[in-house]
């Protein structure tokens, strides 16, 4: 982790940045909710919320007001402390983990350099996986604190599912880590710059048609990782935690109003982490295909003629590129939710332990073997 800076200006900007990333995450949630409701309506041939404001966009505001003014209810038989602590804790892991994902080229302003991420940590992957795995506690606290059997059963299911799929999730990116040889997100993204090229048996293989993205090296890892993140964020087709046909609403049955909304933000936060990681690991992060960071910088120099303006331009362009990829994966999350049916619980566990885990292990071993063979034998 780099320090917060040496001068007062750097420290102030870095502190404001952490708050900004958190606000960005929280503010993206209403937009995603709107997108999800309109998107599901589009998929199911309905209208969706279209009355409040243009395209129903002000529905978000109305919802927020509704959530804030609802009765603050806690079940009598439950554990009040756990019941109130759970939704607050649901926000923390998602927010902290999301801050470690780089969103653009570092911004250079004269002598100071600002990373466009909450903070840089040298072992980014381990950090993000570790922190986001703490989300299981909030679900358990909510389920147990509610004092209702549906909540408890939903929480049990959810946490068992999260722990099971964490193994597949962790193993599916070991191949990625082996390939890049680093845990650092920024280094990974820089390695994915330029056209596809790699060294095998002493030769250099390169193409011009494809970008040097992780997906072309780790397609199996990509599929396993993306599937596991669906389970981690408790989204359909893995939303056994809710299973409204069986469990009313799962672990948040007793929750209403703003406490419910906080769980929502947590869930969407995990979706955002998953989308950010997908972009970083397999789709070049903030990198633009066929265009290098230096190209954008030169273009900015020609356009504005000043160094600082070009730097700002470079950062903004890459930030937009990152958000394009990020939004695409978020849309896939939403689209999958409204297209696929839910698994049965035993099918879910079978898929996690008997299919994804062996495939992830095999992917790791094949990657390691191929890397060893192609780099140590020359022809």
């Amino acid at each position: 982790m780099t320090s917060m800076g040496t001068t007062g200006f750097e420290i102030t900007v870095n502190l404001i940045k952490t708050v900004l990333v958190f606000l960005m995450m929280v503010q993206a949630v209403p937009i995603l909710v709107w997108l999800e409701r309109r998107g599901s309506a589009f998929i199911q041939n309905r209208f969706g919320p279209n009355r409040v404001g243009p395209l129903g966009l002000l529905q978000l505001l109305a919802d927020a007001v509704k959530f804030l003014t609802k009765e603050d209810f806690a079940p009598e038989k439950g554990n009040r402390f756990m019941f109130y602590a759970a939704p607050v804790f649901a926000l923390i892991p998602a927010a902290i983990a999301y801050m470690a994902i780089p969103m653009s080229v570092p911004l250079k302003l004269e002598s100071a350099t600002f990373l466009i991420q909450g903070f840089e940590i040298n072992v980014g992957i381990v950090f993000v996986l570790g922190i986001s795995s703490l989300a299981a506690y909030t679900i358990l606290m909510a389920g147990w604190g509610s004092g209702s059997k549906f909540s408890l059963m939903g929480a049990m299911r959810a946490s068992a599912q999260i722990i099971s799929y964490e193994l597949a999730l962790g193993l599916s990116i070991v191949g990625v880590i082996l390939m890049y040889g680093t845990f650092n997100f920024n280094e990974m993204i820089l390695q994915q710059q330029g056209p596809l090229s790699f060294q095998a048996f002493g030769y250099t293989v390169s193409t011009v048609a494809l970008p040097n993205w992780g997906i072309f090296y780790q397609p199996v890892g990509m599929i396993l990782f993306f599937a596991a993140t669906f389970a981690e964020s408790n989204r359909l087709p893995f939303d056994l935690a809710e299973g409204e046909a069986e469990l009313v609403a799962g672990f948040h049955t007793e929750y209403g109003g703003f406490k419910m909304l906080m769980f929502f933000i947590g869930e969407y936060g995990h979706m955002m982490i998953a989308s950010g990681l997908m972009a970083t690991f397999f789709f070049g992060g903030y990198g633009i295909p066929y265009v290098s960071i230096q190209d954008v910088q030169n273009f900015g120099m020609n356009l504005f003629g000043s160094e600082i303006a070009a730097n700002v331009f470079n950062t903004v362009v890459h930030f937009l590129m990152y958000n394009l990829k990020f939004g695409l994966f978020l849309w896939i999350f939403i689209h999958v939710r409204w297209t696929l049916p839910r698994f049965r619980y035993d099918q879910l566990m079978d898929l996690g332990w008997k299919t994804m885990l062996p495939w992830a292990l095999a992917n790791t071993m094949v990657t390691a073997t191929v890397m060893f063979v192609t780099s140590y034998f020359m022809f």
């Binding site: 040298n122 996986l129 795995s133 299981a136 389920g143 049990m156």
Partner: protein, 177 residues
């Protein structure tokens, strides 16, 4: 007080308070959650020592997986009986205090005899390797201590097989004959 010192004292206090509440709480679920809190704050102390990888592994393995399983199993039980067992009984209370005391004595004794408080040589070694690098750790584990590492893995496997065998035997561990 510098920022580093403040962080250290804050995290140390947090670790000790949460570790104490593991044994002082009457409800086993609070105890388990406090233990998870202890793990997280120990990981934060690792971060201040620039051992990022260890901190991450500490959170993933202990706080993220092991303790979640503990909490899950605890929540599945009807805890009224356990609550009584935890709160009442002079014998169990004395036993708890005795075990805490002996563990604390063991730790203090180990620190006192092992001279861990004076580490100028180890610090100079650590300064030559890049901060938070994973390669030295991997070399220790997979080259120098590979036998011990693999033996521990086998031991864990034996425990897992033994647990499954016990639970699948007639009546399992909860058999009442």
């Amino acid at each position: 007080m510098t920022a580093d010192a403040f962080l250290f004292w804050f995290l140390a206090a947090l670790t000790i308070v949460s570790a104490l509440s593991v044994v002082l709480m009457t409800n086993p679920i609070y105890s388990a959650l406090s233990l998870a809190m202890t793990m997280v704050s120990v990981a934060a102390i690792f971060v201040t020592l620039q051992a990022y990888f260890l901190a991450g592994v500490q959170i993933i393995v202990y706080a993220g997986a092991v303790m979640v399983l503990f909490v899950m199993v605890l929540m599945l039980f009807d805890l009224k009986h356990e609550l009584q067992a935890f709160t009442r009984g002079r014998f169990s209370g004395a036993f708890k205090i005795a075990s805490i005391g002996s563990l604390a004595g063991l730790l203090v004794g180990a620190m006192y005899t092992a001279n861990v408080l004076t580490v100028p040589e180890a610090a100079s070694v650590a300064n030559t390797t890049p901060k938070g690098a994973i390669t030295p750790l991997a070399e220790e584990l997979f080259l120098r201590n590979v036998f011990g590492f693999e033996a521990l893995g086998v031991l864990l496997l034996v425990i897992a097989v033994g647990t499954v065998a016990l639970s699948r035997s007639k009546g399992g561990t909860h058999a009442r004959h």
